[in-house]
């Protein structure tokens, strides 16, 4: 596949990089990323990956845009309030770059549909806000041997890690199981600075780009934490998997994705 003149101009700042070049840009154009959650983390990630020319981007979210989302979910605008998030996200992505294909899934992601959703994608980006979802995405990606980026944000803090099959700990290796509902604060209860979603969501997009161009080191086997108040970034080395993890270990007991119950208060609050 040869580049069109428009593509050569659009992606010129990529093509000029020795780590990307024409070859890397082609890999991006052939790349397929699924973003689960068109919210704070998913918004900047989707916009940068669209702009970067990742050829196929899927975006899954069941919700509609709410006024309280706009403080950080920069892919949606005031006139999008009430619209399905995936529709609003798709419009912004296609406006940034009509050269790519955007697939929308206006659905709740569950153990029933997650394997079908991630099938055919090269890289999954977790932009969800709750722990049952994060464990579901982890388990499904481990089972389906998909690479994915995990991230979390709260208040002035954020963190992310990348899972690639057979190279380092999975999310469950580190965190075992979701905490009980309300045991640890969520963004809705504790708040989050909008720019934090931008910082961490962009770092997730950066991991996806590096995954495709195969440059540098991914955050496999490590957790990058960011404290915006002290401006400390720390790359914490994670212990090597000991083979006992119930999903990525030598004798896994989790062979199919399953759903944890969602916090009851989450259902009532919205």
């Amino acid at each position: 596949m040869a580049f069109s003149n428009e593509q050569l101009e659009r992606y010129s700042r990529h093509i000029i990089l020795k780590e990307i070049g024409a070859k890397g840009q082609k890999k991006l154009l052939n790349g397929k990323v699924l973003i689960i959650g068109a919210g704070g983390l998913g918004a900047p990630a989707a916009m940068y990956l669209a702009a970067a020319g990742v050829g196929t981007i899927g975006i899954a979210d069941a919700d509609n845009v709410d006024l309280s989302n706009l403080q950080r979910q920069v892919i949606h605008t005031t006139s999008d309030v009430g619209k399905p998030k995936v529709e609003s996200a798709c419009e912004t992505m296609q406006a940034i770059n009509p050269d790519i294909e955007v697939k929308t899934y206006q659905t709740f992601v569950t153990s029933e549909n997650i394997l079908d959703l991630i099938d055919g994608y090269d890289f999954v980006l977790d932009g969800t806000d709750n722990f049952p979802a994060k464990f579901l995405i982890n388990d499904a990606c481990v089972i389906a041997k998909k690479s994915f980026s995990h991230a979390g944000i709260i208040r002035f803090q954020g963190q992310l890690m990348t899972y690639v099959p057979d190279s380092g700990a999975c999310y469950r290796c580190v965190f075992k199981q979701p905490p009980p509902p309300d045991a640890v604060p969520t963004c809705r209860q504790a708040g989050v600075v909008g720019a934090m979603a931008g910082v961490i969501g962009c770092l997730q997009a950066m991991e996806a780009v590096k995954f495709f161009i195969n440059a540098g080191n991914l955050l496999t086997g490590s957790l990058l934490t960011y404290n915006a108040l002290t401006m400390d970034f720390r790359k914490i080395k994670l212990p090597k998997p000991d083979g006992k993890c119930p999903v990525c270990g030598e004798h896994p007991t989790i062979l199919q994705p399953f759903d944890y119950e969602q916090a009851v208060c989450d259902l009532k609050e919205k």
């Binding site: 704070g40 998913g42 069941a62 709740f108 569950t110 954020g158 640890v184 969520t186 212990p239």
Partner: protein, 74 residues
């Protein structure tokens, strides 16, 4: 003894346990934090019996949600 805790080297009383360190460091929601010592996870339920030694490196790994609300619902 000196420990490196979350990247900072500090002096602590000799022979304290991980549980004591969690308390001294005012770890938020301590029952849900994952602790690693010298790149090994401290098994759940052994914080009280895991004794720290001079030179140990300890990390606290916290649950963090975030992103958007309700993209997944059961």
């Amino acid at each position: 003894m000196f420990l490196t805790v979350a990247g900072n080297q500090k002096e602590y009383e000799n022979g304290i346990t991980v549980a004591k360190l969690v308390e001294l460091e005012n770890v938020e929601t301590p029952q849900y934090v994952t602790v690693s010592v010298n790149d090994d996870f401290v098994e759940n339920g052994t914080l009280e019996t895991t004794v720290l030694h001079d030179g140990d490196t300890v990390e606290f790994l916290y649950f963090m949600g975030g992103g958007n609300a309700r993209s997944i619902l059961y």
